[in-house]
Symmetry: C2
Subunit: 342 residues, 2 copies
């Protein structure tokens, strides 16, 4: 793997410097903790604070969803590692305005532990913190053990909904309730076609045989449910879409939001070819796509592969999804048309 | 190379289907020519039509810059191949409103030939067509032979400026003049760290030895000016930035727009690390970054590497650059702050 980096141990620092310079109109660093990125819009009105955090290497996630009407502060971890409890705590303190803070993060052991500690520290300061924990990865545990499932790209929907609800003036309970509904109604599935290498390790973190793919792979190369022969876009889309819609389950007549994310090295062209198949499969099942996102929204360094996330919608979620947003990852105009097909 | 496609010979068709479904709020296909993508905003007011076109495999370019205040219609070619003269002609006809059409495209033999034929056909119909031809790739010929240089990611600046000028009510001559200034004041340089494979060929179109990089590589793997030992972000940024700023040349006190694009497989993290170095180098040379773009803006399938484009600015270009835009590749709010550093 050839990389455009300086010191492998400082890739996160160097990346944050570039990110903050490039997007100074949207975000800034916390004054005392360089591992906390804060939205310039965080305190533009009195509202519930929205915090998330996670490991680096998933850019534009997590920092790229910090901004207007999405996340107010992000705790930044090392590559594929949880941020510290201190960073989560500093992020919470930075955006609390007395209405409480919603911490919307993914279900990983390190994050669970560090958010719990941060929450206790914040509550000692009199800040009310409530959480919604993303567990959208349908491949990571059975439907009987939803609380063991990992959070993946569906987190973006959770942030979009939670951030919009806060902007609408929702209370902490209302924000948490909307964010929890968003993630409860979201199912994701990923496939891996090639591994990735953590710069400081220098070797791929797993292996995928040419001609095969790992079905259900996690964002850090966690093993999927099976290794199978590589199919074409049609067969891969069918297997992934079926897993997602049967798991919730989605029903004939449902409206949904779809997010397809390349994992880092997947050509954008292939992502649209895949989207075309998914759209047809959902239509065949009577599921109407209300809004869709295709691109490198939540990556895993230079992994080849992609994730599919589908969120079932009701009027509340549609209203939140349609809300204007201004972040590096998602920029939506106020009053922008929906994705109605001609 | 493991790919998520169906028939290798139909990747462009399949991609376009997905793209048009996903972005039906921004673009639609021409009624009779499926290789022409038209902005839904093309005729929202009477203005000069903006047309471009190019080979596929560079997504989100070229189709992703079709939309509000950028390109009105795009002629779509096969992978890394020029669109047909007929597609350029149909694109021109689709967006002419009697004020003429500006065809803003890149300097490649096939495109030059096909645009020339399309222009003749259109002029037979009484449509005035003028062109601006991007030649921003500083590595592709010497300063004595600017007309031999290729167009690369700097085309995005040309489209942004030309589209904004048209929206402002500019005449065809004014639009062409602004677009030509944009590209005349833009210099780009690319590096390749790994090759890419055209799906229908099945084999990489060139080879890069591990530990080396191709300095000055083209968007289709055209040979660069030299093959050299792989450096780190700091040394690579220095070599690329120096080439760009000495070529125009940029001067102390200049304001500039910067666009860094991954070529397909370059982690977003590395693009920001690279940006951090470029920003420092420009500052050291007295060049102030007015606005910057970092991401996969103009790719080459799954090539690893990136391009750096820098455009010198004056008041006219700044005003056009700041204009609201709504395309898949660039979404900018009206009245959005500039990228002033805190």
């Amino acid at each position: 793997m050839q990389r455009i980096i300086n010191e492998p141990d400082y890739v996160v620092e160097d990346m944050l410097k570039g990110f903050l310079k490039c997007h100074a109109d949207i975000v800034h660093a916390d004054e005392s903790n360089p591992r906390v990125v804060i939205s310039n819009f965080a305190k533009s009105k009195k509202k519930v604070g929205i915090v998330t955090g996670g490991g680096s290497g998933h850019e534009p996630a997590f920092i790229g969803y910090c901004g207007k009407n999405m996340v107010d502060a992000v705790a930044v971890g090392e590559i594929f590692s949880s941020p510290t409890a201190k960073s989560f705590y500093d992020a919470i303190c930075a955006v609390d305005q007395g209405m409480g803070v919603a911490c919307l993060y993914g279900n990983y052991a390190g994050d669970n532990m560090n958010v719990k500690m941060a929450r206790e520290l914040a509550e000692d300061d009199g800040i009310t913190v409530k959480t919604a924990v993303a567990n959208d990865d349908a491949a990571s545990a059975s439907t009987e053990e939803l609380n063991k499932r990992r959070g993946v790209a569906g987190e973006i929907f959770m942030w979009k909904i939670g951030g919009a609800k806060s902007e609408q003036g929702g209370t902490l309970d209302e924000v948490i309730s909307a964010a929890q509904k968003a993630i409860r109604w979201t199912r994701s599935i990923g496939i891996g076609l090639s591994p990735c290498t953590i710069p400081a390790n220098g070797k791929p973190n797993f292996h995928i045989e040419e001609g095969t793919m790992e079905f259900g792979i996690g964002h850090h190369g966690e093993p999927g449910v099976k290794i199978e022969k590589m199919g074409n876009a049609k067969t891969i889309a069918a297997e992934m879409t079926n897993m997602v819609i049967q798991d919730l389950p989605f029903a004939d007549g449902d409206e949904a939001a779809v997010l397809i994310s390349g994992l880092g090295a997947t050509p954008v062209m292939e992502q649209y070819i895949f989207y075309n198949e998914v759209e047809q499969l959902l239509k065949d099942n009577g599921i109407h796509i209300y809004r869709s996102y295709v691109g490198n929204y939540f990556t895993s360094l230079e992994m080849n592969g992609l994730t599919l996330s589908v969120m079932k919608l009701d009027e509340e979620l549609k209203e939140c999804l349609d809300k204007e947003a201004r972040t590096v990852g998602i920029t939506q105009f106020k009053g922008e048309q929906r994705n109605e097909l001609r």
